[in-house]
Symmetry: C2
Subunit: 299 residues, 2 copies
């Protein structure tokens, strides 16, 4: 990534989110202090902060106060981080490394990892429901509703279960099934992140739908690129073991479409994503640039 | 328990909650169907339904519509059931049986148990945030806030972490530490259950505080009785392995106070709990009877 307005905005958002997490996550005190340490370890370890960035940028379109948008962005990131902690568990993906660091169950222990994930998820709703997030309780309630739907059995957790089913030796996942699974597993939360900004800004139904559409296409393109990186990526760039999916014989966009068609599909989705937000003009420049970056990234 | 108004009310509540869970929990469809099956297995397996009963009875004091109270009661029970699923995991208490049936990770597998717990927790907030729970969005938001606080790092999950810390060989848990841990681990959700009824009924601050006080004392007495049953209970009555805490050398109310003083303390708490709700007169008869039952139960 070269120095650019997007680069600057991503870096500023990541720094703000890091500070916000540090400020908002509970301090490690008392006999349960290990839990808070693990919550902090799981979330204060950098990462792209893609979802908080979507919250902040979509909120920015509607001139939402940065402090409110940051709280909501932090809640969304807590949900994302919880999902990573649980996904990494030995019973799930059994990963030892995440962003080049030991995963939570490696740095702490399995019980603490289960509980830290639970706590991050619960704390996200606590954050959203608190008055500091928005003056209007109806707005806060809608944030809770959208985040819960995106993360629950019809969203992220359901997608994770479908993803495990896809690993079974007799699983038959065609393009439709893989697309549906990925929309649930990663797409739903990405979509919710963009929607959170619109909700905070009391956006019109049309504006909200435009951001939903943008994030829908962005999320799929993001996942296709992840699959491409899984095949092509080098371990130094991605910071995790590569070609894991291929080694498991698991159906992915790339295994079904092949590298070239998958890449073309990601590019089509990104063009479509950018068209969705044309209505916001230059206010959505960073979101457009993000869409292009998502399929060009190397990690 | 002999046939009594309490018995009838408990049985009716348990039946209603069972029906409500069955109606409200998502159906098992698609490649992620195993997740919904596990959510249902974890929650549709009976149990005392103490927390939903507290919601229903406290809501009843304020003439809350039964259908609204049942939705909120169902959400609270989802949180309770999620906590049991995760507590039973091999990395945690490593229990094979729950209510005489194989635990979720035994009946399904560990990954599914982790995800089913996650999904039940998330779904609880989805239920509370939906319009059917109460007409007033501010009420729904307050339900979310109270349930999240009670379940999160300063409540149930924090208590679970402190409980694990208490199992360490070098742990020094005195009466104060055990009381604090139990207030977080089991007390917070019990208290939230009674408070949910008050919130639904837009109760006065005094009435809400009375129900909080009642549930606070009830929760502690409930836990002390659990500790007593752990020492004295017979496996046929409790449906789980007994004397586990003692075998682990873990500090409990009974190990610190001894059987007689622990029992006396539970009785004092129950008297106090009943005094808290005297202001509601005969409307709180079931809650008073429940308090007495909690320390007389054999399982």
């Amino acid at each position: 990534m070269t120095e650019s307005p997007l680069h600057a905005a991503l870096a500023a958002a990541a720094a703000d989110v890091e500070k916000s997490l540090d400020r908002l996550l509970p301090a490690a005190i008392g006999p349960e202090g290990r839990l808070m340490e693990a919550m902090r370890y799981a979330s204060l370890s950098g990462g792209k902060r893609l979802r908080p960035f979507l919250v902040l940028e979509s909120a920015g379109i509607f001139d939402v106060k940065r402090v409110c948008a940051l709280r909501a962005a932090t809640a969304v990131e807590c949900v994302h981080c919880y999902s990573l902690v649980h996904d990494d568990l030995p019973a799930m993906d059994d990963d030892d490394l995440r962003r080049g660091k030991p995963t939570v169950h490696k740095a702490f222990d399995e019980a603490t990892a289960v509980l830290a994930g639970d706590a991050l998820l619960t704390y996200a709703f606590e954050l959203l429901a608190a008055p500091d997030t928005h003056d209007d309780p109806r707005v806060r309630l809608e944030l809770v509703a959208v985040l819960a739907q995106a993360s629950g059995p019809h969203g992220m957790v359901g997608g994770q279960m479908a993803d495990l089913a896809a690993e079974a030796p007799d699983a038959e996942f065609d393009l439709g099934a893989v697309t549906r699974m990925q929309k649930m597993k990663t797409g739903a939360l990405i979509q919710a992140a963009a929607e959170v900004g619109a909700i905070l800004g009391k956006a019109s139904p049309e504006a909200r739908a435009a951001l939903r559409g943008y994030a829908h296409d962005l999320g799929l393109a993001f996942q296709i690129t992840d699959d491409l990186l899984d095949v092509e990526g080098r371990v130094e760039d991605t910071g995790k073991a590569v070609a894991k999916d291929a080694a498991r014989g698991k159906a992915t966009f790339v295994s079904i479409l092949g590298v070239e068609r998958a890449r073309a599909q990601a590019e089509r989705l990104i063009d479509q994503a950018i068209r969705h937000i044309a209505m916001f003009g230059s206010r959505a420049d960073n979101l457009s640039a993000l869409a292009r970056y998502v399929i060009e990234r190397k990690s």
